[in-house]
Every structure is written in C-alpha cells, then in structure tokens.
C-alpha cells in the first residue's frame, strides 16, 4: 500500500527526538541493570546540568567545544567526507596556540598575541585536515582511515613535544610553561560582573561567542556562497560537479582544510580559555562527540547548536551523576554518547517506516472524519 513521505517537520525534529529517546531508554535500562533508579539518575543529570549554581555555565563551556568539532564534521560531511580526525586537528591547533604564544608573548601586547593565537589555531588545524584531504583527493586514500591514523600521529607528536622540547623547565609533568599574565580569553562571568550581573564563576569564556559566530559563518558558507554550493554538489555527486567544470580535487582539499581549521579552533576554549598552557589529552574525546553532534544536528548549524546544548548538559550532568552516585562515573556519559551515535547514525531510519505508517494512518483517519462530519 502506498505510504506518503513524512512531513518535513517530522523528518527534521520528530525522528531525531525518537532516536534520542530510544538511546535514553536503553541507557535507562542499563542504569536499572546496575541497580540505580534511572528516573532519579535522569533527574540528577538535569539538575546538575541546568539548575545548580554555575551548572549552566559549565554546560555551555562543554557545548563550546562540541560546537567547533561538530561544525568541523558537518562541513566535511556536506562534501560526503567523513572527518573523524577532529581530535587530532584540535590537538595540533592547540599545539599551534602554544607555539606562537610561547614564542612571542613578550614581544607583543596581549590582544595581538591572542589574535595571533586564534589565527595559528585555525591554520595548524587546517594543515592537519589538509593532508588527509589531499591524500583522498589526489591518491584516493580513504579519508576515514587516514584521519583515524592522523589522530594517533597527532597524539604521539603532542606527547613527544610536551615531554621533550616544549616541557616547562624544571618540572616533570608533560606540559608547557604557563602563558604570561593577561594572555587568556576573558571569562563570561567576569564580563557579566563588569556589567553588573553576578553569576557563579565557571570556565565559560568568550570562545563561546566565537563558536556562535562560527555557526553563523558556516551557515552562510554552506547555503549562501558559491563555494558552499559546490561543496554540496560534490557531496551529492562529484561526477556532476566535474562535468559542470569544477575542480573536485581543489574543493575536497579546501573543505578538509576548513573542517580542520574549525576543529583546531576548539583548542581555543581549552588552552587559551581555561588551561593557560598546553597539556596532554586536553581534547579528551571531544572530537568524537563532534561526530555525534553533527549526526544528531543533521549537519545544520542550528541543529548542531541544539545538539551541543544537549551534549553539554550530558557531560555536566554526568559529572554531577559521578558525584551523587557511587556506582556511576563519567564513563556512563561515554556509554550514553555511544548509544546516541548508534541510534542517530547507524539506526537513523530504524523508526522511519513505523512513523510513516503512523502518519499515513492518522491522515486517513483525519480525512475520514472530515468526510463524515
């Protein structure tokens, strides 16, 4: 029997919500399995993410990281390129920040140094995205595998540099020396305090505003520029793009460079906004969360922003869960994240046939009632 396609709002909002609910239901079952009450746990997560003092600030701070990595994955995905290298690109971006600040922090005023750091974060991340992109475009190496390998190479590079040439003199732990006073991104709670609004101190800093600006820029780029149009054409059919006269190699390389640059900017939040020095493992899995966020947000900046709020809440709520329950740690968040990726990515259209049938049945019922009454 013919079934009409889903209305647009159901496809964009309802189906992702159903996938999300499925992930949460499975997580709830596992929480129940380990002996805790899933509803209490969800309540604690919600309060920990939004209600408690300073919670929302932390949620937004985590969300900033995910916005950058999510945008990176989304931009590449529009060209049908799967950029899993967000972790590595963010690491190299952070390395870039560290290198430029440590090299010239005493020569220039802080504002200029921070500006340089932003540029270097983006450029270094772009280079780390450019190389796999070039290998895919020119030599046909599958971008998924090369980006995975580049993640590991970046991690090793960072370890070697931080334990060797870049280590702060006279200390054992692998990290650079702290940046000079004043070379740090302004914290939001400080800015609000100047304006007279008092909120609890959180690591939330102005890179959150950069992230929102990046969302806006990506939206303009993908849907309102010629380059974005060509990227989307390549994503749908690279043959059509070549037939139309575009250079697929150039576009793939440029897309991966932009993607890498966005991921590199993520390190601004961590290194320049919070840590004040380059440390090991500051990306702590945020690159992979970016993939989840892009999948959930259907590669659109607005969807990504909403998904990032959700994941930020998950991470912050997870920290609260860790605190409140003895049997649960932050690894629970990893598990929920895995389930969300599974249901939003691999099983994305699992519920679609059932939903289509439901809509069809409802429309028949509505038209029958209209006919009778």
């Amino acid at each position: 029997m013919p079934v009409s396609p889903l209305p647009k709002w159901a496809d964009i909002c309802l189906l992702p919500l159903i996938n999300l609910s499925a992930a949460f239901i499975v997580s709830g079952c596992i929480i129940a399995l380990i002996g805790e009450n899933p509803f209490v746990a969800m309540g604690v997560m919600f309060k920990g993410a939004f209600i408690y003092k300073g919670a929302f600030g932390y949620t937004l701070y985590y969300a900033t990281n995910f916005i950058f990595t999510g945008l990176a994955v989304a931009v590449a995905f529009h060209a049908m390129l799967f950029n899993i290298g967000g972790e590595g690109q963010a690491m190299i971006g952070g390395l870039g920040i560290g290198l430029i600040i440590l090299a010239c922090e005493s020569f220039f005023p802080p504002f200029f140094v921070i500006l340089l750091a932003i540029i270097f974060a983006g450029c270094f991340g772009a280079i780390w995205g450019f190389i796999p992109g070039y290998l895919q475009a020119k030599r046909g190496s599958h971008i998924v595998i090369t980006t995975i390998m580049f993640n590991f190479i970046a991690a090793s590079l960072l370890v070697w540099l931080l334990a060797g040439p870049l280590i702060a003199p006279g200390q054992m732990s692998p990290e650079t020396r702290s940046f000079a006073e004043g070379i740090k991104l302004a914290q939001i709670h400080d800015i609000l305090a100047v304006m007279g609004i008092k909120i609890a101190p959180t690591p939330l800093n102005i890179s959150f505003l950069f992230a929102i600006f990046a969302c806006f820029c990506v939206w303009i780029l993908i849907w309102h520029t010629k380059l974005g149009y060509i990227i989307r054409v390549i994503g749908h059919s690279s043959r059509a793009a070549i037939y139309a006269g575009h250079n697929a190699t150039h576009i793939i390389v440029i897309t991966m460079a932009i993607s890498g640059g966005l991921a590199g900017l993520m390190s601004l939040n961590e290194i320049l906004g919070v840590q004040g020095r380059v440390i090991l493992n500051f990306t702590s899995g945020y690159g992979f969360t970016g993939i989840a966020v892009a999948l959930m947000g259907r590669n659109h900046p607005l969807g990504i922003f909403c998904a990032c709020l959700l994941f930020g809440a998950l991470y912050q709520g997870g920290a609260e869960l860790d605190f409140a329950f003895q049997t649960i740690t932050r690894d629970m968040v990893l598990m929920i994240q895995g389930l969300i990726i599974l249901f939003s990515g691999a099983f994305a259209y699992l519920f679609r046939p059932a939903l289509e049938k439901l809509f069809w049945r409802v429309s028949i019922w509505v038209s029958k009632r209209r006919h009778n009454g």
């Binding site: 190496s141 595998i145 390998m149 990893l334 895995g338 599974l342 259209y349």
Partner: protein, 324 residues
C-alpha cells in the same frame, strides 16, 4: 655473542606475545572487510570481550567459561553492527565508531557496578587464566648452538591462544581461498550483484562473515585479559584494534601479508620498550614515541600508494540494495 642472540630471541618471543591479539583482530577484520562491511569496531569488540572474559573468569574461576562468554558477547556486538549495516543499510563507519564508544563506556560502568574497584576487575589467579605451555625438557636443554635457546624461549612458554592466533591465519587462508564459502564471501565483497543474480543471499553471507569476525575478536579480547594480562583495566586495548585495521590495510587484505604486517607492528611494540634509553651506534636515543607512531605512519604511506597499490574489496563500505 650469545647474549646478543639471547636478546634477539627474547625480542622475537615478545613479538609473538604482542602480535597475537593483533593477528586475531586482523583476521576478524579480514573476514568482515572481504565481505564488504567496513569494521572500525574491532577495538570496541575486543575491549568488551576482554572485560567479559575477565569478569566471568573472576566470578566462575574458569578460563574456558570466560572464553566462551567473551566470544558470545563479541558476536552479539558484531550482530548489532551487522544489523545496522546489512539490514538497515546504515553508515558502516558511524556504526563502528558507536560500538567503540559504547564499549568504552559500558565496560567501565559495568566493571564499577559489579566489582566497585574503579573500573578494574579483580586480579586473576593462575588457575583462572590460560597459562604458558612449557614444552618437554625446555628448562633442561642447554644452548646447543643457539637452537636450545630457540626451543626454550621462543617455542616453549606461549599459551595456547598465541598458537591459535598463528594457526588462525592458515585456517583463514584455507577458508577464504580453498572453500566455496570463502569464494562466496569474497564475491560478496567484490560484486554483490553477481552473487545475488546467482541466487545466493548477500545478507546471510555477510551476516556469517560478521559472526566469524565476532568470534575472532572475542578470542583476541580473551587473550588480552585472561592470558596475557591478569584482569581487565580500563581502555585495555589501547588502540590495538586500530593497529589491526592498519595491518589489514598494510597487508592489502590478504591473510599472509596481514600476518607479516601484524608481526612487524608487534615487533615495533616490543622493540620500543627495549630501546628506551639505549644509544644506537652514535645516532643517540631513538624516542619511543617515534617507534610507536610507525604503524600509523606506515599505514598512511601505504594508503597514499607510495608502497605498492592498495586494493580494497570493490564493494567495501557500500550497503547492498536489492534492485527490484
């Protein structure tokens, strides 16, 4: 002279121990990828299998029960991956990634829930593990022109999973290239339309391949926590699944070259720890990180086509849709 020979043999011995999980995982990936399903989730399956093996060994005291349950769990995860990729034609890379992340979180969560030791399982005693198989007269045999050293250190003293790993390469090669099941499996990975036209179900062949993948990954995970180690530690696999994937690509999806690639990566791992702090012929100290990054670097170089051409199965990663 005898000392250098001993050191060399001991390094080869360590290579065997370190490459056994890589070999099992790579063979697992071989079955999956040869049938056309990209499998990024080797890491996650191995991790989950390691956790389940350590848990069951701790709770029941039997290593064989641990092996069986680890294989079952790994096959379960494989079937989830297969269901997402084969029946629902979902994105295979995403599914693999999801299983990896899920396994990372779930293993530690369950470990804490069951044992409350911060993500570890209790240390396993000797009776709960697979122990080394000592060959007869191994301790008594002398040096005998160096051959005695080979017998004593290299051949004797491995546990049966290491022997199984090396044996699995020949079994895999036999199955893939000498049986009709293997022919169907390879055909499904190269040209599923032709196989479908011949009347063979593409999905059930792929499901069978994915189940074999699960079995081999389960063996690899069991080896890590019940034979090589004595319990489960969080993130125990430490990227071995990705190195196995790299070896698979490096070996051009053929069993014997993949075995050699795994042994080479295992050798690099064994050598990295031994060469720490050692001066080499005036070159100075080789940084451990450089040696440990070599598997990934070499894979990228192979993928870029600088060492021979990379020939993946033609239908790799493309979900098969039956045309009407």
């Amino acid at each position: 002279m005898a000392d250098i020979w001993l050191q060399f043999i001991l390094t080869i011995d360590a290579t065997c121990r370190l490459s056994a999980p890589l070999i099992l995982c790579a063979m697992a990936g071989l079955f999956s990828e040869r049938s056309g399903i990209i499998d990024i989730s080797l890491e996650g399956k191995m991790l989950m299998a390691a956790f389940v093996a350590a848990t069951i060994a701790s709770l029941t005291g039997s290593a064989w029960m641990a092996l069986i349950s680890a294989v079952c769990v790994s096959v379960g995860l494989s079937l989830i991956h297969g269901f997402a990729c084969i029946t629902h034609k979902g994105n295979q890379v995403v599914s693999g990634l999801a299983i990896n992340i899920l396994a990372s979180g779930l293993s530690v969560t369950l470990a804490i829930a069951i044992f409350a030791q911060g993500g570890l399982t209790p240390l396993l005693s000797k009776s709960e593990r697979f122990l080394s198989i000592i060959f007869p007269f191994a301790h008594d045999i002398g040096s005998f022109f160096g051959l005695g050293t080979i017998y004593r250190e290299l051949l004797s003293g491995h546990n049966f999973l290491v022997w199984l790993a090396f044996f699995s390469v020949f079994v895999t090669s036999f199955i893939l290239f000498q049986t009709s099941f293997g022919l169907r499996l390879r055909a499904v990975g190269e040209n599923p339309e032709a196989v479908d036209t011949a009347g063979i179900s593409v999905s059930s062949t792929r499901y069978q391949a994915v189940i074999i993948t699960g079995i081999l990954c389960g063996l690899a995970g069991t080896y890590l926590s019940v034979a090589h180690g004595a319990g489960f530690v969080r993130e125990m696999t430490a990227g071995k699944g990705y190195i196995a994937l790299a070896a698979l690509i490096f070996g051009n999806w053929r069993p014997l070259p993949v075995l050699l690639a795994c042994c080479m990566f295992g050798f690099l791992d064994a050598v990295a720890t031994r060469l720490q702090g050692v001066d080499i012929f005036g070159l100075g100290q080789i940084p451990t990180d450089l040696i440990l990054v070599l598997p990934y670097l070499l894979t990228v170089i192979v993928l870029a086509g600088f060492i021979g051409t990379s020939r993946p199965p033609q239908a790799l990663g493309v979900p098969y849709v039956k045309e009407r």
